[in-house]
């Protein structure tokens, strides 16, 4: 932590105090953790007979195995993401439309979708459209996250320098063409970190499928634990599911952070006529903030909601 300005680079005394605090905290924490683990051990949580089912092939493979559940979860994620991107583009275009007859209904529908819990939408698709649990999860997650992604893309378009649109129109492109060919690609580039962060949310929310009994990881895990004896395997099954979800989500979060770093790097400029480099295009968050201050009525892109 050399970058912080909240406190000085510690001197010998401060280092000693900090080290003592660290050690005390670590000891107390380890003691608590050790107590918990000891209690679990007394309860038998670490005996081999609590974990042996994970060595059997039947736990993992086959129609009722964990891998099948993982496949369901991942398919829901992939299909939901694709749908979310399509819905997001549609919302972004509708919200950026010049015609009020398109813009105002799109805004109302978008606010409506963003304001309700995803689970409510899943139940709605499940009960009213009668699609089956898996597709209810896919459709509801696609629409809900699409609404949020659409809003991100739209604010990305709003944050572009005005010259982008003007030069598109000056070249003879139509209004719609300018949006599609000039503004949208740049907006997507700026907003990619927010879009991927939203996909992490989507991946987490696929777990809601459990509540409508979609055959996803948690549903299958619970079924297996009950089959082999829940008293014996509930805890170990939970840890396995937790590990799988953490691995998936942390990987995707890491990708989001990596992309965010890539995008916020200044772009290489092209060459001027005399061979010097042009200034890179202002597409950073700085540009977003400037735009925000200029345009009081517009909202800044919202950070993805938990």
């Amino acid at each position: 932590m050399s970058g912080t300005v909240l406190y000085d680079a510690p001197g010998p005394k401060a280092r000693r105090v900090s080290r003592t605090l660290s050690v005390v905290f670590a000891v107390v924490f380890a003691a608590l953790l050790g107590f918990g683990v000891y209690q679990l051990w007394l309860g038998g949580a670490f005996y081999a007979d609590r974990w042996d089912i994970f060595l059997q092939a039947g736990t993992w493979t086959g129609a009722g195995g964990l891998l099948a559940g993982l496949t369901t979860t991942l398919s829901a994620f992939v299909l939901g993401s694709l749908l979310a991107l399509v819905v997001g583009f549609a919302f972004a275009l509708a919200r950026a439309s010049k015609s009020q007859a398109v813009r105002i209904p799109a805004t109302i529908v978008l606010e409506f979708f963003r304001g309700m819990p995803v689970l409510l939408m899943i139940l709605f698709v499940f009960i009213v459209a009668n699609t089956g649990a898996f597709w209810a999860v896919v459709i509801a997650l696609g629409i809900y996250n699409g609404a949020i992604i659409g809003e991100a893309i739209r604010s990305g378009i709003a944050a572009l320098p005005r010259g982008q649109r003007e030069s598109g129109l000056a070249l003879g492109l139509g209004s719609f063409q300018t949006t599609i060919l000039i503004e949208l690609p740049q907006s997507i580039r700026t907003m990619l970190p927010i879009i991927i962060a939203q996909l992490v949310v989507l991946l987490k929310d696929t777990a809601l499928g459990y509540i409508v009994s979609s055959a996803d990881l948690i549903t299958i895990g619970r079924r297996l634990a009950n089959f082999f004896g829940a008293g014996q395997y509930a805890l170990s099954m939970f840890f396995v599911m937790l590990a799988i979800y953490l691995a998936l989500n942390l990987t995707l979060s890491w990708v989001a952070r990596f992309v965010s770093r890539q995008v916020s790097k200044p772009r290489k400029g092209g060459k001027n006529l005399d061979g010097t480099r042009t200034a890179p295009l202002q597409l950073s968050t700085q540009a977003l903030r400037v735009q925000h201050e200029r345009d009081e009525t517009e909202q800044t892109p919202e950070p993805p909601r938990p």
Partner: protein
């Protein structure tokens, strides 16, 4: 809609437990999240590491899995919670990480010069935080905190799958009883959530505009 009006008591019950879950979770989770955020920027390495691990794990675990742990796993290791208590525990575990991140980003939004100035007049870490940084951070912290509470309001719906009767459960039960009115029932319940979230969102926007600092 008819079905909703005929079952006003059911709706009130769902609305009541939803609001109660939001209120209790905020009351417990917000101070906890603030402590986590303080730990995350503190000079003591062990605090930083512990709080970072907690926040990363809580933010990357599906809320459904946390609920699952409270409702089905804890009883197997000998700790049976009331379903409502379990729901509060799950929501607090999950939401406090988001509260912590909101507070931390508020701390980071205070201009670097403020901390430098505080340090150069001789204030220590504790003094810098409590006298200079936090009072200024509050104004940029409150709008994101409200956004976390909005998300929390929507997340209470997950409790439905774990035997707590919230607004979403009302939609499920009524659409079973009145199959032909399912569409209206769902719209009604969605609007009920909007009654909570839209004013909160307006408040966040208002405070954000009002407290914006020119830098």
């Amino acid at each position: 809609m008819q079905a909703l009006f005929e079952n006003g008591d059911l709706w009130l019950q769902g609305m009541g437990s939803t609001l109660m879950l939001v209120a209790i979770t905020t009351l417990i989770g917000l101070p906890f999240g603030a402590v986590l955020a303080g730990m995350r920027v503190s000079p003591v390495a062990a605090f930083r590491v512990a709080s970072t691990i907690y926040i990363e794990v809580a933010r990357n675990t599906p809320l459904t899995l946390v609920f699952f742990f409270m409702a089905f796993v804890l009883p197997r290791v000998g700790l049976t919670l009331d379903f409502l208590v379990g729901a509060v525990a799950a929501l607090t575990f999950y939401t406090s990480a988001f509260f912590a991140e909101a507070v931390r980003s508020g701390i980071n939004s205070v201009a670097v010069g403020q901390a430098e100035a505080a340090r150069s007049v001789g204030l220590g870490f504790g003094q810098t935080m409590t006298l200079v940084i936090l009072p200024q951070a509050i104004r940029s912290v409150v709008p994101p905190l409200i956004n976390v509470i909005i998300a929390l309001t929507k997340n209470t719906s997950v409790a439905m799958g774990f035997f707590v009767f919230v607004l979403t459960s009302v939609a499920q039960r009524l659409s079973n009883d009145y199959g032909n009115q399912a569409l209206q029932i769902f719209i009604g319940i969605a609007l009920s959530y909007l009654i909570i979230t839209v004013p909160l969102g307006q408040l966040a926007d208002y405070l954000e505009k009002k407290w914006r600092v020119q830098r």
